[in-house]
Symmetry: C2
Subunit: 346 residues, 2 copies
DNA sequence: CTGAAAGCGCTAACAC
DNA sequence: GTGTTAGCGCTTTCAG
């Protein structure tokens, strides 16, 4: 890379001081009452030679690096990939770069904090992976490091959060299945203490209670491998063979469930109807397209930035907010009404 | 965020100079013949107070920021998401952060170069989006900015590259279809000049030529929307109704193709067999699992890093390498033999 | 073996 | 209105 031109070079070339250049560069010309003529001359010269202030030097000086750290379990999960894309768009609009990281390599506790400080990110957007201890987040909050959680938060942790209304989403989905004629609706979810899981369980339960139906909840161990989970679902379906509809608590769970259903030779939706949390292309294109609860990715990204941007560096916001967005039920064939064929036969 | 401790603080606390601290910090104690006793004392103190050198300051001084820029079209594309994940793992192992960006916002030309310099990434790994002009890459190469392309390169551009052997992959896939009994094999791909596309066409053609079969190539306009592409594929299938197998040139194309096939009421693989480039979960879980040419993600990431790591900053490697990896054909039901049932009937 | 000091490129108080 | 100058925290040359 050729030697880069610095602010001193432009100052010298123009026979002015670098302060002046710095001021016009940062749009403080007016404020500092630098003549328009000079300002324009500087701007023109900068444009001509393609000078760009060195962000590292700027960062060292100002303590702000225009980086946002995005921490997620797994970028290969479609929901996260979509969020990443949306966040990146917003970030670049605002002049931030996105430093992406999972926390696989940072497992444990203090590693995350150190990493964030090391990266010198100005803020952190995080969907805490399962293995992240609450104290890590607490430590960051206590440090007044700007942090925003999404997808789910950790119970008892006072931290900014943007997510969907899990309870009513689960309620609506369960209700939809009941309305379509399915009376034995199961919920298959993970056995973690993450808040969104409990909310989904609550929503599911209250929809059933309203119609005085029985609940069938299967909690899968998140750390098990796919085969173990399949095994366990297989047993569940065999034991409760009256079940004719399932609400899956996550996209991955649903995918495994579909394999199991296929193996059991059940037809969707006639033998078993399906709705899942988290929409993705997969569900839309599946042979029997799967009804899914879509998280409003764009809106999540927008809200995260609304929370982030007003926080000036060093004047840290101490008021945390939890923002809950509505999710959208994309109704597809997998939850088609059992009732319609009956009408047709009449 | 509390005030951070600096190298001067630890030097003062220990009554030594910051030079000494710096040396032991960078593992140059032995070389500088600093006593083990002192070294250990420094290390212990650093550990105790949790001091971490400020990477920004370090970056300003050394010109190296331990960031790698990863540029891809779309993180929401599963293949890219997988690569991103693999690259991130390698990067963090080596102490790099990954700055992720699409180039949506950087469309055009010089923007990318500027952005890279702005980010002060040490290197760039790039799967050039369709709209990226060759001259951008050339400019970076000319600047001796460490850059590695993957997935595809641009014709006539001398640049490091890691990708699969598209020609033989296409050859093998086509050959597999022929061997399975399908004699009218079509290739559906994009109408771009990207190198990997031409290679795939070549491989496809030579497999057909070897068996003296006729080729049917449909080139889709990449900038068309999904409906337009569906329309165009629909016409293609209707016009050439003797086609009983298709090789798709990309995962997205295949997904659209599957929709079309469904709409036409064709059964896979009996009416039409399918193989696609780029494997992903979707194809594995699809009702009729789709045979796919899987790019060796882990190996691609490894090779990218092998190319990247030996390049010391400022001593730029002027020899460019193109590394071609074998892809793996994951054979699934969508290309099941037409011949077996015949044998069974005997 | 260790320390003083220069400087990476930039910002911003403080002169003039 | 504009220039001088002191750092931000670190590395590294050069003297001792």
């Amino acid at each position: 890379m050729d030697k880069k031109i610095s602010i001193v070079d432009v100052a010298n070339a123009l026979n002015i001081s670098k302060t002046t250049v710095s001021f016009v560069l940062n749009g403080r010309g007016k404020e500092k009452r630098i003549s328009d003529a000079l300002s324009n001359k500087v701007m023109a010269f900068i444009e001509e030679v393609g000078f760009k202030p060195n962000p590292i030097a700027k960062g060292l000086r100002t303590g702000k690096v225009n980086n946002i750290s995005l921490v997620m379990d797994n970028i290969a999960n479609p929901f996260f990939a979509d969020v990443a894309k949306a966040i990146e768009e917003r970030a670049y609009e605002q002049g931030f770069c996105v430093i992406y990281s999972t926390m696989k390599n940072l497992v444990g506790s203090k590693k995350l904090i150190e990493a964030l400080r090391d990266n010198h990110a100005d803020a952190c957007i995080i969907a805490a992976p399962i293995n992240v201890k609450g104290e890590v987040i607490t430590a960051l909050v206590k440090d007044k490091f700007p942090i925003i959680m999404f997808d789910h938060y950790l119970n008892g942790i006072d931290c900014n959060y943007v997510g969907i209304d899990n309870k009513s989403s689960a309620f609506n989905a369960t209700r939809h299945l009941i309305d379509m004629g399915y009376k034995s609706v199961a919920l298959i979810t993970f056995a973690n203490a993450e808040t969104q899981i409990q909310d989904r369980i609550d929503g599911y339960n209250s929809a059933l209670k309203e119609k005085k139906l029985k609940s069938h909840i299967k909690k899968v161990i998140a750390t098990q491998n796919e085969n173990q989970i399949m095994e366990s679902l297989m047993k569940f379906f065999e034991k409760f063979d009256m079940i004719n509809a399932v609400l899956f608590g996550s996209a991955n769970l649903c995918k495994i469930g579909l394999k199991v259903i296929k193996r059991l030779g059940l037809a969707i939706p006639y033998d078993i109807a399906i709705i899942t949390f988290d929409d993705c292309e997969f569900f839309e294109y599946y042979n029997t397209p799967i009804t899914a609860i879509a998280q409003p990715v764009a809106s999540i990204a927008d809200n995260i930035f609304n929370l982030l941007l007003p926080v000036p560096k060093y004047i840290k916001n101490t008021i945390t907010q939890k923002i809950t967005l509505p999710a959208h039920l994309n109704i597809r064939e997998s939850s088609k009404s059992l009732i319609i064929p009956v009408h047709r036969n009449i």
